[in-house]
Amino acid sequence: MNAIEANHLGKAYRKGGIGPPTLFGTLSRTLRGRRHEEFWALQDVSFAVESGRTVGVIGPNGSGKSSLLGLVAGTITPTRGTVRTEGRLSSLLELGAGFHPDLSGRENVFLNAALLGIAREDVRRRYDHIVAFAGLSEFMDMPVKHYSSGMYVRLGFAVATELNPDVLLVDEVLAVGDIAFQLKCLDRIRDFQRRGKTLLLVSHALQTVEEFCHEAFLLYHGKMVARGDPPDVILAYMTSYMGEGGYLYRQEFGTREVEFTQVTLRGADEAESATFTTGRPVHVDVGYRAKQRIESPVFGFSIKTGNGLYVFGSNTQMAKTPVPFIEGEGVIRLTLDPLTLKGGNFFLSLSIHSPDHATQYHRREDWYPFVVKDPTETPGLFALHSAWRMLPGPQREL
């Protein structure tokens, strides 16, 4: 059964017209026979989400992600096409959207719950639970205008997730509060998944999408340009759309006395690829061009996860494979064998510098995205060599 079904969904906004519309503006435009130009925030998007699945929507800013969520939530009306949802729907489009600043936390809990369609009786029964989850038991009689922004969203999240929706829409609200609260939020999301709920979540945190979603949609300029297995879609996003428009913090610098030329990532079969398997080798053929003879250059690499965690870095100096000199063009091969990274998205950075690090000839930071797929089901970021063994000796009766 499909929990969400969208058919040729489209949403157009009028371009131009800064600020709220005015009577005079509309009249003069109508008299001059001029019409607003249309801007399609979303165009011809069709999909179905099976009940119980979690789908992540990714894409650069302005790609139509929030419009899509708004259309599914029913807060905006489609210009074209239809969207249908099955079961009770709740949206975390904005936490604490209905809070009234002058009312107390307690009053706002009931108001917000009513907005989300939770019966008063349910709220009353679960009130202590909500307050405990938000961790605000001492502040419930205080007007929310005196809350910190963290307290505000925590209360909003606690209310919104207390109800028992069949379909939950989440718009980039998981990154609220401090780390402890974020972990609680993610636990809540996992709990929803365990209970077989359908989730549609928009996030810029690619790692979250990868970790939680069964499927990912990539939106670009209002169109769905890719969908499927999250790591593949995320890779497509990183390689094709992120660099353009500076969405990615990738940078390149150096004196360019030596330059990278062709850099090719190859799998175990030597074929060019951007998707690799845990436990198999990866080769990176780094082409270079030295404009003059460079004595003892150092080639280095480093790997970061999709959300910027530095995983590992090394260079020819540390690896004790010094390069005496380079001149002209050539290729140096970096091999990672076996690849001990677990499933996910990663970035490879490359560098050429002088042995004392004083001169950076050429650096490319976060330049080469790649995906690792892990055939085993073990969770984590990194495969550690691990083994279990019973130690000899009798087991004692208790």
Binding site: Y13, P20, P21, T22, L23, F24, T26, G70, A73, G74, T75, I76, T77, L89, S91, L93, E94, A97, G98, H100, D102, L103, E107, F110, L111, A114, L115, L116, G117, A119, R120, P143
Partner: protein, 264 residues
């Protein structure tokens, strides 16, 4: 009817919205609810004083008081209705619920407010009448019906201005002007017999096509002995057309609400 089904299905939300409106209205003011009574009372006193001073025409005090209290109810519904969508843009853009609950909650909150002020107003009118050796008319039993009718009329206005203000922010300025004009053409600080003296009895039925004139006259007929309601076929017609307006306003609002999120 759609209207009733929507309200029933979301009555808890409606209760909450009304409570929010009422609670937040007087938060932080020392006199609180008293302002609801003081406002129309001051207005009535000012009008009575200046009418005496300037015109010297004999409009009974109780008529002015009834008029001002009723007029305040309509004004508050219109001004509250005007901002009920634009002022809750965050809510409208981010949470789905029937939008119509917002103008309805404005009217209900003001109705509750009006009922409380009405209690004070009834006492005032009774005292004023007693000073003349008179007493409240027996028609006060008809008040609930008039109040319901008045509220429905206010709802149609709230629906219209709420929707209009989303599309044209000029509405707030325009409505301010229209309200002051409407105040003067409606029998708030004068009464129907004043109109009859002024324009002749033939025009009275046409005058009652103004629903505010109709409603205020009905309030007076229900409370002041001798202020009878001029029943006629055309007056009966005057009762019907505001109901058609409600249906129309409802339709317009429902059409308009589809694009609210885009325009806010």
């Amino acid at each position: 009817m759609n209207l009733l089904r929507d309200i029933l299905a979301h009555r808890e939300l409606l209760q909450n919205l009304v409570a929010r409106d009422i609670k937040s209205r007087y938060k932080g003011s020392a006199l609180g609810f008293l302002w609801s009574i003081l406002n129309p009372l001051f207005m009535a006193v000012i009008y009575i004083f200046f009418l005496r001073l300037l015109a010297g025409r004999g409009v009974p005090h109780e008529d002015v008081i009834i008029g001002v209290f009723a007029w305040q109810f309509t004004v508050q519904c219109v001004t509250g209705g005007m901002t009920c969508i634009t002022g809750n843009s965050n809510l409208v853009k981010k949470v789905y619920f029937p939008r119509v609950l917002l103008p309805i909650s404005v009217v209900v909150a003001n109705l509750i407010n009006f009922l409380l002020t009405l209690a004070v107003q009834l006492v005032l009118v009774a005292v004023l009448l007693a000073m003349k050796g008179s007493h409240l008319a027996g028609w006060t039993a008809a008040l609930p019906a008039i109040i319901v009718y008045h509220s429905l009329f206010n709802l149609s206005l709230a629906l219209l201005v709420a929707a209009a203000n989303v599309y044209f922010r000029d509405t707030q300025h325009l409505v301010g002007l229209l309200l002051s004009a409407w105040f003067f053409v409606s029998p708030v600080m004068y009464n129907l017999s004043f109109v009859e003296k002024f324009a002749g009895p033939a025009l009275t039925p046409a005058y009652l096509l103004n629903p505010v004139a109709l409603i205020i006259t009905a309030y007076r007929a229900a409370q002041v002995p001798g202020a009878l309601f001029p029943w006629s076929w055309s007056a009966a017609g005057a009762w019907v057309w505001p109901l058609a307006l409600l249906v129309l306003a409802w339709r317009i609002f429902q059409r308009a609400q589809r694009n609210f999120a885009d325009w806010l």
